[in-house]
Symmetry: C2
Subunit: 699 residues, 2 copies
């Protein structure tokens, strides 16, 4: 195994101490490698530049992977103390180009690179200590504390891959060569591609609980398909093969592009692939740190829209329908060539895990029987959008890793690249990106007989979100009025100014919209991207779909649209963001109203929220809390409960009294009332809850 | 290690196949040993005799341990097929002398011993197969399928111990000597006892999830105590030492006995210990298969009431207060002599696990530093009633193993006996019996400075039962009427005759009592002894206590008494039984009404109940079902759901339609209606459910 990048550790074993040692080595190797990636930046100044406008500056990514460990460890209640709460809010969240991830860097004052380096050292120390001392039994399971450490490591491995893309997108003047990242030294003209026949096969995708490597939530479950026989290209599409498409005006010929593709062309103005450089009518090639002559026999790097356009072009030329492979067809290739999973399959056999090169290499260098590059070299775009397998469950520590991508807009990339390591190079991993996103990815075409059928229901794999949609946008039961609307009414009634409101713990966003009837601007924040995604979708698409259960597994689909709700004229006044109420980013401030419905008894440390919330309110600002005070250890460690326990003298501590103690210096309690709500579980089963509303005016 | 009886297997290890082999050997050893115990019975006829009136005949116990495996495997949905449903109902349940365990053998036609032998072979085959083929990862955890196998084995180990007591209680003419059960060959005059000083010590009881031996639910959790210094008897009380008490008219002197003790004397007429035999003014000694001369230096076998009486007698004589040790004090002895747990402590060092003898032996034979028989020889009664440790949770496969004994009426026995093996000989095991119950138990006295304080709340460790008590006997909310009473009213309204009713799934029994207003006799049955215990307690004690949560951990205590409920004149007409609705004992029949409230969607296979329930109804009998049809896989495997799914043609299957299909041959559907109910979780959180009531008249 390469010393530069180690394999993921197995979850089983019989020697606890040895396992701790393995994890320790893997962890430190990961962080070292990540820091090595950032040593490509010529100087510390460059850390404040962005690879492109919609992304964060590089300093964000440098801090992000370290804060991830701390944020997850805090959320899972494995540690109680933060290392640096400022860093852990400004460096939190941010991978995909989602609307709720705030990339306007003007909102932040970024720390110095040395401060972040020092912070990374502290995290390293903390995690090394935890690795040696956390309770541990083997095999490591998804509910083990150690799983969170592995999650942090694999998360950083993903950022090793994606950061290398960002680095490659930076101006060549900003990047220096680093000896450990070796460019493949040879290239040649492109080999002629040919089609290989692959037999029909039954495939079963997905891993189960006994799988002995770390896996992300989307990898668990079962998917089975009878895959019809098909033909597949022997080689990945090379720069040479793709050159024909470019020279034949492929980027200018509209019929090769679908709507999304045309939109991409319009915005980007692309005329050739992202990492090609046109220099006086000659196409050159941007590698990580160098511009080189076009390596015609290396795979082309394109996004999914470009790959699809190429397939349409080639189909017209050859009179045969080419497409990208489906996820299931790709798995058949795996079986077709008899490929084993890591660690049985050795990295030296493919261009991955930084074993050979830190660049692509010829498409005819690594053979797998009659095919080349079944894994490694560059990722291979699939025509299959990522979807949940049957039995999918979100992991509680990272509930928005997968579900926001189950929107039929994120295509799977298959097979890994030269920059892939860790979970990324395992057989069962599943990563997906928006189709216009650049990655270390190219493609291989197939002639397929399979039809892909799928009814789109975003929330079919997210029951909790569906239940909340019904709660906020659905029917009323037992004569109890819509809670989200009633809360907005009460909050508006007690507010004194109406410039800006914050709906903290906004869930699927109904109160956020309702408040926009009174407030000029309303921001909705939720800890879970799964939830803020709903409010955001209503704003962007004008419609949300969910389902509501009647009996057992039987459900009915529901659709709510923005017109019917009467929010069409309000939508520009609302925005939705991911955020942690206990460690909110500094730019969320200057509110006339902060409302937190059913939030405080779900926070890991409600005091952190209550102690500083006054600073985010304007003069005469109002804070509205609603809660049934359902304290439970799964959300909040008992030591952080605000009520519902006896103190050391045996006195009963009630939440409302603690709120008065905590808030009375800064707020006046102006109103309390009970407010009922109903959450429907099935047509016959409901949660019926009596929330206490308390309204506090800032002194 | 003795070949006769193996140690419990450890839960961890690295070799799955080896672990399967260990479990297999332990399982087969256990069953062989159990069958060996029953070979003490002189002939097959003896199997139909009882050791005493309140117990089952011996055939019951012979079948019981085998059916236990099948019943638990079925309930945990590990297997779907019963071996013999008749055996698995008549041999189910029955250890303690509880009112809900039906010991009137006249109700059953017992099978032949050979039929039971053949049945045991089939179970052996099934379990051996499961041991080799169930999914298995190490360590084995409480939610592993294999845990259920270990549970069955340890359950049988308990019955090895208790059956030997029953055998010893049988007439000497019914028991033959079996060479493997060797009597200790030596005895002598009793040694003079003396008091040993033991230092104060902090003890921590209870095991956690990482414990690597099988443990019962009551062993998990934490209990901590600062134990003050005390003095302890060097030897167990010998027959010789106890003889003084007998000769000094101990059994006739009322002041040595408390109320419970006097009651025991009244009922039993005891004048000396159970296993002493008075033969022409000479006390002899009943061993397992033989009456022998009194072994004066062997420990006396007594119940807790006799042991306490002895302590009072000796206290008066010596002018010092003697008592039985507390659970915590006993643990200090463990530390005092530096005693390790099995398997570090070897069985050859004590009289246990059948290693030396199948009888007691001299109290001065096995030394542990300055004390004798800290473990082994006979159990030692404690003054501590068994209680839940902090963090106690019932194991879902055996939810009535412990909780029915958390009533402050079951005293712990400590240290194990010559007949103990498996979990019984481990350091952390906790077994408790009613104080008048005979076991292979004697005692050791202490001079203690500790006060035992404990507020009695039966249900403090059983939240679910408390929640149901509130549901059935507590307040009404949101204007929704008491569900248990409303159900009884509807059932009575539609019934045609009023001789006998069955309340199946009676929970805490409210509907059972309410029905007794219309019916001459009502039987309440629930799967869980935790629930039927409540109705039964209301009948016997006239009062039940429970608590209801307000906020977090804060609760209020509630008491309901039979007078206020107006059930005083009805209580002789109701009875409560443990039973499985899917495999009901044959004697439950001839009803005018069977009502099953909120039962069918909680059964592991509701068809088994519905297919045969008509046979238990009289002519014109009525069946009343109520259910919100909340199907969930944790209760019912999807293949057994009656509705809430789509069939193979994509048609929605609803429960009410399946009920019509299943019942229409034998019943006429005469009425349906919705009926609401509210279950309070906290002062602000409720389940609000809409049950469907359907009334079926037998054709």
């Amino acid at each position: 195994m390469s010393d530069f990048s180690k394999y993921s550790v197995t979850l089983d074993g019989s020697d606890i101490q040895k396992k701790r040692q393995e994890i320790k080595e893997y962890f430190n190797n990961t962080l070292d490698l990540y820091e090595k990636v950032f040593s490509l930046l010529k100087s510390d100044d460059i850390f404040y530049k962005k690879s492109e406008l919609t992304r964060h500056p590089m300093i964000f990514y440098f801090g992000h992977t370290a804060t991830f460990f701390v944020n997850k460890l805090i959320n899972m209640k494995i540690i109680d103390e933060r290392i640096n709460s400022d860093f852990e809010s400004i460096f939190a969240v941010g991978v995909d180009e989602m609307s709720w991830d705030d990339t306007e860097s003007s909102n932040y004052i970024w720390p110095s690179v040395d401060e972040v380096r020092e912070y990374r050292l502290k995290v390293k120390e903390l995690v090394n200590d935890l690795i040696m001392n956390l309770p541990l039994s083997l095999p490591i399971k998804q509910d083990s504390d150690m799983w969170i450490i592995l999650m942090g490591i694999e998360h950083e491995r993903i950022h090793i891959e994606t950061s290398l893309v960002l680095h490659r997108q930076m101006s060549i003047d900003d990047i220096k060569e680093v000896k450990e990242f070796k460019l493949c030294p040879h290239s040649d003209s492109a080999p002629k591609n040919e089609m290989i026949e692959v037999s029909a096969s039954f495939v079963k995708l997905g891993v189960d609980e006994t799988h002995n490597l770390y896996a992300w939530d989307n990898e668990y479950g079962v998917y089975e398909e009878e895959v019809a026989g098909f033909h597949v290209a022997k080689y990945l599409v090379s720069n040479g093969e793709f050159m024909e498409f470019v020279k034949d005006d492929g980027y200018e010929t509209k019929e090769y592009w679908d709507d999304e593709g045309l939109k991409f062309l319009g915005i980007s103005g692309a005329k050739y692939p992202e990492f090609w450089v046109k220099d006086a009518q000659i196409y050159k090639y941007r590698s990580l740190a160098k511009i080189i002559d076009m390596p015609l026999n290396w795979p082309v790097d394109v996004n999914a829209l470009e790959a699809e356009a190429f397939c349409r072009y080639k189909s017209r030329k050859d009179g045969v329908t080419y497409s990208l492979p489906s996820e299931a067809e790709y798995r058949v290739l795996y079986e077709h060539v008899g490929l084993q999973d890591i660690p049985s399959f050795h990295e030296s056999r493919a261009n991955l895990n930084f074993y050979h090169y830190s660049s692509a290499c010829p498409v005819n260098e690594f053979a797998f029987n009659d095919l080349y590059d079944v894994v490694g070299n560059v990722w291979q775009w699939s025509r299959t959008p990522i979807r949940a397998f049957k039995g999918f469950k979100v992991h509680p520590a990272y509930d928005d890793f997968s579900t926001p991508t189950f929107d039929d807009k994120h295509s799977l990339i298959l097979g890994s690249s030269w920059a892939s390591s860790g979970n990324l190079i395992t057989k069962n991993s599943r990563y997906a990106f928006r189709k216009h996103f650049p990655q270390n990815a190219g493609f291989r075409y197939v002639i397929s007989q399979s039809k892909d059928e799928h009814e789109l229901d975003i929330y079919e794999s997210d029951e909790l979100v569906s239940q909340y949609c019904e709660f906020q946008y659905g029917e009323e039961f037992f004569g109890v009025k819509n809670f989200a609307i009633e809360c907005a009414k009460i909050a508006s009634r007690f507010s004194n100014n109406f410039t800006k409101a914050l709906d903290l713990g906004c869930a699927t966003g109904r109160t956020t919209y309702e408040l926009a009837k009174s407030f000029d601007k309303v921001e909705g924040i939720d800890f879970s991207v799964r939830f803020v995604g709903v409010g955001s979708k209503l704003k962007e698409d004008g419609v949300i779909k969910f389902h509501t259960y009647n009996e057992g597994e039987l459900f009915v689909n529901k659709t709510v649209n923005i017109k019917e709700l009467g929010y069409e004229n309000l939508k520009d006044n609302v925005s939705f963001w991911q955020g942690d109420a206990c460690n909110l980013k500094p730019n969320f401030n200057s509110y006339d109203l902060v409302i937190a419905t059913n939030l405080i008894d779900r926070l890991y440390n409600p005091r952190l929220f209550l102690d500083t919330i006054d600073q985010r309110l304007n003069k005469d600002g109002v804070l509205v809390l609603t809660s049934p005070y359902t304290w439970q250890e799964s959300s909040t460690k008992k030591e952080f409960w605000l009520g519902g326990y006896k103190d050391e003298h045996g006195n009963e501590i009630k939440t409302i009294d603690s709120l008065k103690n905590l808030l009375s210096d800064k707020f006046e309690l102006v109103h309390t009332q009970d407010l009922e709500f109903i959450i429907k579980e099935t047509a016959r089963k409901f949660q019926h809850t009596l929330s206490e509303v308390s309204v506090w005016r800032k002194k």
